[in-house]
Symmetry: C2
Subunit: 396 residues, 2 copies
């Protein structure tokens, strides 16, 4: 009960705060509750037409972003709680696949720590108040089914969550596991001479945008010289498949091949996440990226559109691959093993860079080799841009 | 590695689904990504003006809502993972207090299980894209600080989370604890003769709405005969204080006084949550509620406005009290103990009902006694409506 008594003191502090700040707000007529259509839980309201600045949100001002999951030592016998959450808005049109992607994206933060198990998942969902009810009743169960199916593939289950009504659709979740120390790999042990491996091709952001531009003549005109509608459709399908693929096999192989550190590639692009990972290293190392495996045609679209920065490594990815530091002698074996048929179709990995002595930074070389990754089922070799190669066995 | 291999099979199943459902959508021009302003992670867009139906969202179609937290047996020595998530929109104007309320509301689901510790919290946040950046930079840190301070009062810390941009502000979180079996109380053991205790007064929904009606002449005109502006302000402050108060002390006392079951009162009101709790009982019992402790004046506002159903027990609460089944001989001691100064100011509890033999339902008697709970600091006794009492020692 000592803890409970201590809480009482906190309660008094709060009372003082409440008394002092009770009517806080920039101006008297300003209302925080104005920033929701759900006035007082009960009112009806009108959402004003507003310009949307579509930025990736900044991380928490005061929370570290060093690791993909938080790791909390528990009160019980050497165990740790490893936990992560993520949610976002629809970026593909298929509700079932959107659910799968959201789940794969959440689990990926555990997999980046080399964790292969998940004890529990919660689902976070908002349905759109602008969607007709009939449509909502079709779409929502499909998203939920996609999410749950991916959770099941990850050997876990969704046992709870929260659903709200919102102007936009939101889908995401929470993944939690309680681990013994040998079940996770802290992302801080890269050594000079290590090799960097990436387990999914880049270009998901370009692919989903290009797919939306099929219906936007102004945008389409800027890229139609470098890509056909069929290639955009293929690239989009490939991106969707990759985003929905779990990084679980890669997480398991991190243990087999003695990985020294890893992260997953999401909103900051391969360069941003490489930099984050480099910062956390105990040794004085830097990461240098030589090769960029990219979904076929996406490099050309990125260049033609003048957006994204895909070749600069700054294009956001969703549910991207793991970037793993491996001992040099293990990296090729990792890339070969993950393609083994025993893990099913569709798993790939490429050596993309090296670990040098340095001051915990990361960079991409001036003219990285672009590896054009062909959509599955494709047999024709696409036209390779200048510094590209359609090979999956790059040199460094 | 067996599990990893099994995943491979799941991957193939997914590939088949992706191939079959890749372009799924009700009509060819329909786009799921249309239900977000964040087109393709990168576009700008215009959010159309849309009517907002402000309803409490339904629970997950296929997930149980029986317990306030999910309880997952772990692979490690008899331990269980107890976990919950909740998020919602601003309902008070003070950003700091809004953060505290959001945190108290999440933790409350653990406390309802008699859990007093929390190993980790994640924060879920969206900032409004309609809020000027300058204002956003003032408001957001205050909400985060409120959330973190309440977490600290709960003996835990926020170690991660997710922030996005959204038309509306969202705040919420995830609370997780790993427990030994004696640390939580499953909410299924009520017996005939037990007494029901409630640890916060009802009326938060009425209070926050009435406070908004101060600026809405049409609405205000309907209630101004029964309440003054000052009383609305006092009731609002009292509601805010109560919503921001942790149910942690009550959770600790559940163990001291041998509680048989508990839940917390939120969106379904006291009647809805009593019914949910009754359904889960192993014994053939029913809950009968005789007394309704209500923030002073809120019963009158509820009646005058013709909304809410506060006296019918259906008015939604946010971060409400725990409703606890206790052995009859322990209930009065619980109510007396929680007011002890050793737990700090502001904790209260009332005996509100009894457990009878029955078919796992709950009801409120025809003319429940309304206990008008005076805002702290108030000395005057408000005019009591007909079947009301300002006493805190109700009879049953």
């Amino acid at each position: 009960m000592a803890e409970v008594a201590a809480t009482g003191a906190g309660g008094e502090a709060m009372a003082a705060v409440a008394a002092g700040e009770g009517s806080l707000g920039p101006v008297p007529s300003w209302r925080l509750t104005g920033f929701s259509g759900m006035k007082g839980l009960e009112e009806t309201a009108q959402e004003a037409g507003l310009p949307v600045r579509a930025e990736l949100s900044p991380p928490f001002p005061t929370l570290g972003i060093g690791m993909d999951s938080c790791v909390i030592p528990l009160r019980h016998g050497g165990l740790s709680l490893v936990q992560t959450t993520d949610f976002f808005y629809p970026l593909v049109e298929d509700p079932y696949m959107m659910g799968r992607i959201a789940c794969a994206n959440v689990l990926s933060d555990l997999y980046a720590m080399g964790v292969t198990e998940c004890d529990n998942m919660l689902m976070l969902l908002s349905v759109s108040q602008s969607m007709p009810e009939e449509e909502r009743e079709k779409i929502t169960p499909l998203m939920i089914k996609g999410f749950r199916d991916a959770a099941e593939e990850g050997g876990t289950a969704v046992t709870g969550g929260q659903t709200v009504v919102n102007p936009w659709i939101i889908i995401g979740g929470v993944a939690t596991v309680v681990c013994q120390p040998n079940e996770f790999i802290l992302p801080d042990s890269a050594v000079v001479g290590d090799v960097l491996v990436l387990t999914k091709p880049l270009g998901t952001q370009v692919a989903v945008n290009a797919h939306q531009w099929l219906d936007n003549p102004e945008r389409w005109n800027k890229i139609k010289m470098v890509v056909s509608r069929e290639e955009v459709e293929l690239g989009y399908q490939e991106a969707m498949f990759n985003m929905a693929t779990l990084n679980r096999i890669a997480a398991g192989l991190m243990h087999t091949f003695n990985a020294h550190a890893a992260t997953d590639i999401t909103g900051f692009g391969i360069l941003g996440h490489s930099q984050n990972l480099a910062k956390q290293q105990r040794n004085e190392v830097s990461f240098v990226i030589h090769n960029l495996p990219i979904i076929a045609k996406m490099a050309a679209i990125s260049k033609a559109s003048g957006r994204f920065g895909l070749l600069q490594g700054t294009s956001a990815e969703t549910s991207g691959g793991l970037l793993i530091c491996l001992p040099r002698e293990q990296a090729a074996r990792f890339c070969s093993e993950i393609k083994s048929s025993k893990y099913g179709e569709g798993h790939q990995a490429w050596i993309v860079g090296i670990v040098e002595k340095g001051n915990r930074t990361a960079r991409i070389i001036d003219k990285p080799r672009v590896i054009e990754v062909l959509p599955r089922g494709t047999t024709a070799t696409p036209l390779a841009p200048e510094n590209s190669s359609a090979s999956s066995e790059p040199s460094l």
